[in-house]
């Protein structure tokens, strides 16, 4: 079984946002949102001795993801290969997972009213391709692979070269996006973009969103047979209409 992880090389990254746009194109990410982002950690130092560095962020597919238990409908789950996914059929767009994520990696899409985030391009990976952001990166700053493949680059960078996870003493969820680079640069990025304490959404808000879904589910449970038949017909009908 694979256990996927990403390593970002901060010394290679030039902040060009190629990854952001490749991802946007791959996943139809609406304007104003991103599955992966590149931000500057600002500038440290005094004239003329400065440092600056870019921070590339996305879903970390944490070992202990706070988004999974935060989801009231079971839409967010973690695959055995570590990839945290959102089942959009179950997602009610309540945003509980959005505020539960210490990395700000999730957003509610205005296009679908569902939550969206990086899934390590699972569909591409299934096809044997690299995630869109990795494949396109002109600086070759992103490295993707199987953490359990002892001959792979990711294994090497994580277990031999000291690639670092962005976590704090308080918030240590085992993120699977790692960073390599000069200590100074890693510290700068960590200082600017350290994980934030997960929030729990006010129950009332979730409940209103959830209520609709619950009614739907209750109806489904009572008239299961009819409902299945009905929805099958509906979906067939939809396809014909699309054609």
């Amino acid at each position: 079984m694979a256990r996927y992880a990403m390593v970002v090389d901060k010394e290679r990254c030039v902040g060009c946002q190629s990854c952001t746009v490749a991802c946007k194109s791959e996943w139809d990410v609406p304007n104003g949102h991103a599955r992966t982002r590149v931000r500057s950690a600002g500038t440290n130092g005094t004239y003329p001795n400065f440092s600056s560095v870019f921070y590339v962020s996305q879903c970390n597919h944490c070992d202990h993801p706070t988004c999974v238990p935060a989801c009231p409908t079971g839409a967010t789950t973690q695959e055995p290969n570590g990839i945290v996914t959102v089942n959009t059929d179950l997602c009610i767009g309540c945003g509980s997972c959005v505020v539960a994520c210490p990395y700000g990696a999730r957003y509610v899409s205005p296009a679908t009213d569902k939550v969206d985030k990086c899934d390590f391009c699972a569909a591409r990976v299934e096809q044997g391709r690299e995630p869109a952001c990795v494949e396109t990166c002109p600086a070759k700053a992103k490295i993707f692979g199987n953490l359990e493949d002892t001959s792979g680059r990711v294994f090497d960078l994580v277990y031999r070269k000291g690639a670092r996870r962005f976590e704090t003493r308080e918030i240590a969820l085992g993120p699977n996006v790692y960073y390599v680079g000069k200590q100074e640069h890693l510290e700068m990025a960590a200082a600017s973009f350290s994980p934030q304490p997960p929030q729990i959404l006010a129950a009332g808000f979730v409940w209103t969103k959830l209520a609709k879904k619950m009614v739907f589910l209750a109806v489904g449970a009572t008239f299961l047979g009819q409902a299945v038949a009905f929805f099958r017909q509906l979906s067939v009908g939809e396809k014909q209409f699309e054609d």
Binding site: D9, E11, R12, V14, G15, C16, Q17, S18, T20, V21, A22, K24, S25, E26, N31, G32, T43, G45, T46, Y47, P48, F50, S51, S52, V53, C121, A123, R124, Q127, R129, A132, E135, T136, C137, P138, A139, K140, A141, K239, E242, D243
Partner: protein, 734 residues
């Protein structure tokens, strides 16, 4: 995962198969988006001019995704933000959609929609009329990009020698002339800088990272990862500077002084590559005498870079020789003395033995290229209207001419009147400084036609607007690239049919030729025929080229790879690297560059400098919805000290006013500690003045609009543009 019905699936493949007529050979494969089966159409990107290899995933006649083309020998499957955003250009709702003829006053923006037949008849009739009335030279062409070749042929056949691209006098001309004088050949594009093998990379004003050409970024990152030292000379702490071993925040305008001081260290301490110079170079004794007094201490007084640092960085270069990559730069029209600065960079490169050597500047490899035989072109007795041979001895016609020269002549009618302009893909308002002159010149015209993809400002002034298809919808001449380690040919072929009524440039040019009775200059039947003729002597498989997008050949990048039969290593007049230039001596210019001070900003003013952002290409991408989302305007950057002196703060809304009283719109101030106190910096390309560009219109400000002064390079006529000064006013005071 998304599932698709069988009918949808069949429909997809059906359309894909029919696309065979659009792009020759294709492979069908599950695309990445929802596993849909797609046609993979390789083509050359045109979000900038680097022409990276793209794979367009096409289904149902739509481009679903652009991937990098892994078969492309230069770009190896990499695409930048702009390249990835090509779909948003294709689908830009603001595109020019059909031919239009002006009905209102020039500049009023009133047009009527016409058919292509009517439009081309109109164009043909007007061109015939101008020729009859004033002679063919009265029409000037303003093209942009290598694909403008079809229009170049058209206008040459028509009989005018007048064509000019900003690529020369507003961009890389001084560099190419400077290197040609020294090594016998221009730098060319893509620049053959061996960044990935370099032991020491030197960037003078180049800001790789913010300035993104994919393969150059890859080579830069590879070179640094392998341990190359990096020296960055820039008044602003750029992304590249953040990766440097040495950031030298040079006083603007003094780069030649730094280069001379570096040469002084290398020559006086005998750190140069003696064997290389003995074998290949001439003029060393003269150079040695010339640089004697340009000590690092002298350099410190001029450049404000400490002498010790000048020595350290000279030593770092010497330690790395010959693997020193001094990047010749690209947009180098700064101060009007730019050819001599480029000469200084070339001479330093030669001292380090780095030209033609691993890790330095590598050599181009010739490719056999097919020629399409054409009838002889008419000779103009009047000569060029920009008089480049007379006014600027080293501006050659082959090097694209002088845009501002053609504008001047349009205004003065000296040496003869220019009455018609054909603008193809060039933004004459924003890529040429002194735009007020450009506007006045346009108002003097009898006729102006613009061929473009988007309604740029200039379309408002045109008599005829022709909508061109985007690069994803058209064939263009193949890229035949010799300045790559593996020289290659790569194709631009349509991934989808042109949207709306847009047409490819080749078709527009060929159809216009028909109207003018010049069909004989377009003897090829269609794009396939055109391509076939050009690649004929290359001995390659046409369908392989079309299905892979590119075919490469073994290269001979280093001196040791060359044989006698490959031609002279240094095709200068003397056959040697000319440290002291015989051509310049003959022309009574400095044979070895001297330092000449440039004008300082007056009290209270900052020098306006400009650069690029990785998500935009000049003025071409600001209307792209995906790129606009990442960067919608260009703040003006000033230093913390400069802001404190003005009592201003980061994020404040301000107005810039230049030395001639020209003001910017209200813009955002960005304050940073990591910049010199005597400059104001911005990203070029914003501030469009065209209501038709619904995203870009009046977003940010135009640096070009503040360039009311230029400093012209006496050698070759380039317009130095960093000679304008601005003061920052509060929104209330402006």
């Amino acid at each position: 995962m998304m599932t698709i019905s069988r009918r949808q699936f069949l429909k997809g493949t059906g359309v894909a198969a029919a696309l065979g007529s659009v792009a020759g050979a294709q492979t069908f494969t599950p695309g990445t988006k929802g596993g849909k089966r797609v046609a993979m159409v390789p083509t050359n990107c045109e979000m900038c001019f680097w022409r990276c290899g793209v794979m367009a995933e096409v289904a149902d006649g739509k481009v679903l995704k652009l991937q990098g083309n892994p078969h492309h020998p230069l770009t190896n499957g990499k695409l930048c933000a702009r390249g990835n955003a090509g779909i948003a250009l294709l689908n830009d709702p603001d595109r020019l959609k059909y031919p239009q003829i002006r009905t209102g006053e020039r500049g009023e923006g009133k047009f009527k929609r016409v058919s292509w037949d009517e439009a081309l008849d109109f164009l043909g009739a007007r061109l015939k009329e101008l020729k009859q009335k004033y002679g063919p030279e009265s029409v000037a062409m303003f093209p942009h990009g290598v694909h403008s070749g079809f229009f170049a042929t058209l206008m040459k056949a028509y009989g005018t020698p007048n064509s000019a691209e900003p690529a020369f006098a507003q961009c890389r001309g001084p560099r190419d002339i400077g290197y040609q004088l020294t090594f016998g050949r221009p730098v060319n594009s893509p620049e053959p800088v061996d960044l990935e093998e370099s032991q020491c990379i030197v960037l003078i004003g180049s800001h790789i990272g913010e300035n993104v050409f994919t393969s150059q970024v890859t080579a830069f990152a590879d070179g640094l990862a392998k341990g190359a030292k990096l020296i960055v000379v820039d008044p602003r702490f750029s992304t590249a500077a953040s990766k440097a071993n040495w950031w030298l925040p040079i006083k603007p305008g003094t780069d030649t002084a730094l280069l001379l001081a570096w040469m002084n260290v290398i020559v006086t301490e005998k750190l140069y590559d003696k064997d290389y110079l003995d074998t290949y170079a001439s003029g060393f004794a003269e150079l040695e005498a010339h640089v004697k007094d340009y000590t690092p201490e002298w350099g410190e007084r001029i450049t404000e870079i400490p002498a010790a640092q000048i020595r350290d960085t000279a030593h770092a270069m010497a330690d790395a020789k010959p693997g020193v990559a001094i990047h010749p730069g690209r947009h180098v029209t700064w101060y009007g003395n730019d050819t001599q600065r480029a000469r200084a960079m070339a001479i330093l490169t030669a001292l380090l033995g780095a030209y033609g050597r691993k890790g330095g500047i590598f050599l181009p490899t010739k490719l056999a290229q097919g020629k399409i035989p054409l009838p002889p072109m008419p000779e103009s007795e009047k000569g060029r209207a920009d008089r480049i041979g007379n006014l600027y001895p080293l501006a050659s016609e082959e090097a694209h001419g002088l845009t501002q020269g053609l504008i001047e002549t349009t205004l003065s009618a000296n040496p003869y009147p220019i009455k018609g302009w054909i603008v193809y893909g060039q933004n004459v308002m924003e890529s040429i400084p002194t735009r007020q002159k450009t506007l006045e010149a346009i108002k003097k015209l009898d006729f102006m036609a613009v061929v473009d993809v988007l309604p740029m400002e200039q379309t408002r002034y045109a008599d005829l607007v022709l909508p061109e298809a985007t690069y994803l919808e058209r064939y263009d001449p193949p890229a035949i690239v010799t300045t790559a380690k593996r020289p290659y040919v790569s194709v631009r072929q349509p991934a989808v049919e042109p949207m709306y009524e847009s047409k490819p440039g080749w078709w527009i040019a060929k159809q216009t030729a028909k109207r003018l009775g010049l069909e004989a200059y377009f003897p090829w039947t269609d794009p396939d025929d055109h391509l076939r003729r050009l690649i004929a002597p290359m001995n390659i498989n046409e369908s392989e080229l079309k299905s892979l997008g590119a075919v490469s050949f073994p290269g001979k990048p280093y001196i040791e790879d060359r044989a006698e039969s490959d031609g002279p290593l240094f095709p200068t007049q003397s056959g040697k690297i000319e440290l002291s230039s015989s051509v310049l001596k003959d022309l009574n210019f400095d044979a070895i560059p001297k330092y000449e001070a440039v004008e300082e900003p007056p009290a209270g003013f900052l020098r306006l400098i400009y650069g690029r952002a990785p998500v935009h290409s000049f003025t071409r991408s600001e209307n792209n919805a995906w790129l606009d989302d990442l960067m919608a305007e260009n703040p003006v950057w000033i230093s913390t000290v400069a802001a404190q002196n003005l009592g201003m703060h980061d994020g404040q809304r301000v107005v810039l006013e230049n030395q001639d009283g020209v003001k910017s719109p209200v813009i955002t101030l960005k304050v940073t500690t990591a910049m010199r106190n005597d400059v104001a910096y911005t990203v070029h390309g914003f501030g469009a003045q065209s209501a038709g560009l619904k995203k870009a219109n009046q977003h940010g400000f135009s640096d070009t609009a503040l360039m009311t002064r230029i400093a012209i390079d006496p050698l070759m006529g380039a317009t130095g543009m960093r000679v304008n000064f601005v003061r920052v006013l509060t929104e209330e005071k402006a």
